[in-house]
Symmetry: D2
């Protein structure tokens, strides 16, 4: 992955829904991606924890970009399915996520994501783990469908 592609993906990560939530890309390498989001009141549930949907969205989106680092502009990444286990209450100032592709098929790229709750001192506690099944599709096919 060259620097221009890396910069493109780091920027592309935050747009539309994920910009609305305040997601930020932290790092990208071949098959790997890291991200964070500040836990503003709008992202919480009734007990003051990050809503499970925020945790799941971060896990899915970061896994998708981990897969995105393995393909060129002629391909796009779709989420086929994902599964997430919530391990500990996601309380804190921010969430931090790391994702990595764990097998490189031609069509299917399974990736694992881990999400940590980060407190004001920067201490991390593992909050959730996800397995995300991603599929490589030709960019052209998406254009034809829309």
């Amino acid at each position: 992955m060259d620097q221009a592609r890396r910069a493109f993906l780091m920027n592309d990560f935050r747009q539309a829904f994920t910009a609305h939530l305040g997601f930020e890309a932290l790092d990208a390498a071949e098959g790997h991606f890291a991200s964070t989001v500040a836990l503003t009141p709008a992202l919480l549930q009734q007990d003051g924890l990050a809503h499970a949907g925020v945790v799941a969205t971060l896990a899915d989106h970061t896994a998708g970009y981990a897969a995105y680092t393995l393909v060129g502009p002629e391909s796009r990444i779709l989420t086929v399915e994902f599964k997430i286990n919530f391990l500990k209450p996601a309380a804190g100032a921010a969430l931090y996520c790391q994702a990595q592709v764990i097998s490189r098929g031609r069509t299917i790229l399974p990736a694992e994501s881990a999400v940590w709750a980060v407190n004001a001192d920067g201490d991390r506690k593992l909050a959730a783990k996800a397995m995300v099944t991603l599929m490589v599709v030709p960019t052209e096919s998406l254009r034809r469908e829309s």
Copy 2:
């Protein structure tokens, strides 16, 4: 479930993160819940579809409230884990979700959610299906932890 409890759950469904996204409860019955969300630009991804995170959040949250209809104020519902398959691109004016608890254990309440994309004419297309594992916890235990 009496009418006061039903009204409480219908209202409680929309708060914090889910109010921020514009979720609305449509119906509640014992073991069942239905909901919707208008697909404003903030909820989309780069191709103009609902972001997978929005679809997953609606599926999880609605399943949680389907479980919530089966317990009293002394209990709360936590999501242990969920898995969601994305079946068709979620394009349209709104999402519609139905969830139902499929087995009534003392502690574990598994629920299924289906999410449809709804176009401007009200036509629905099945976009995703999720299985959500929910756990009943004493309200008191949550207060002690926080």
Copy 3:
């Protein structure tokens, strides 16, 4: 699906591992498959219930053949992943499984399976539900790999 293809799939369902466990095909139609297995002592766990692995194998294998009904001899079906929830103890004389494909993509065929425990009187109790993600691959590609 013509009768010859249907007969081929009904017979093909039971071979190697699944023959060893005593699986039997009961019915096949486009996108649908049904199967059963008698709960002999070798298939149980320590409490006299069907082992979770038997239930999961039946759910996965039957879903795979539901997908198989939608392709011709030039294609094969691989399981990408599956997720299964165990709802009730699988006690009884036999298991019965129904599976159906819930979305027809070109490459990905997600299918749902339900497994019932059947007692000596033929009464059924829902024991497990699974979501199985299946992929269509060219038969030729499997031959090249082996």
Copy 4:
């Protein structure tokens, strides 16, 4: 975990269905378990690979015993649900599995399993990864139900 408990679990691992398949415990430590199974013809599918059901059963059963190491004789472990991704064809002489509990709740013990295909030279190739949600139940409650 004392040596008597460890020996009990290593022996208990192989019984009924898992003895029938030839599963063997290799190692047990607090929150961890390792196992193997020789790939005899009865465990294969039509292409000479380990059947997905064998891989899934090994992943689930080994995760269950990883959880089992964390409780005493007054408790039993039930599988609530699991999800498994198949990464590479499971071809070879044997399967090898490692599982570990990744969060220690009072009731819920999520565990991860990895399954490798092992060839005749002992080389390992990662074939599958699973997330298994396990629940602690009182031994007494199982007796009452049966």
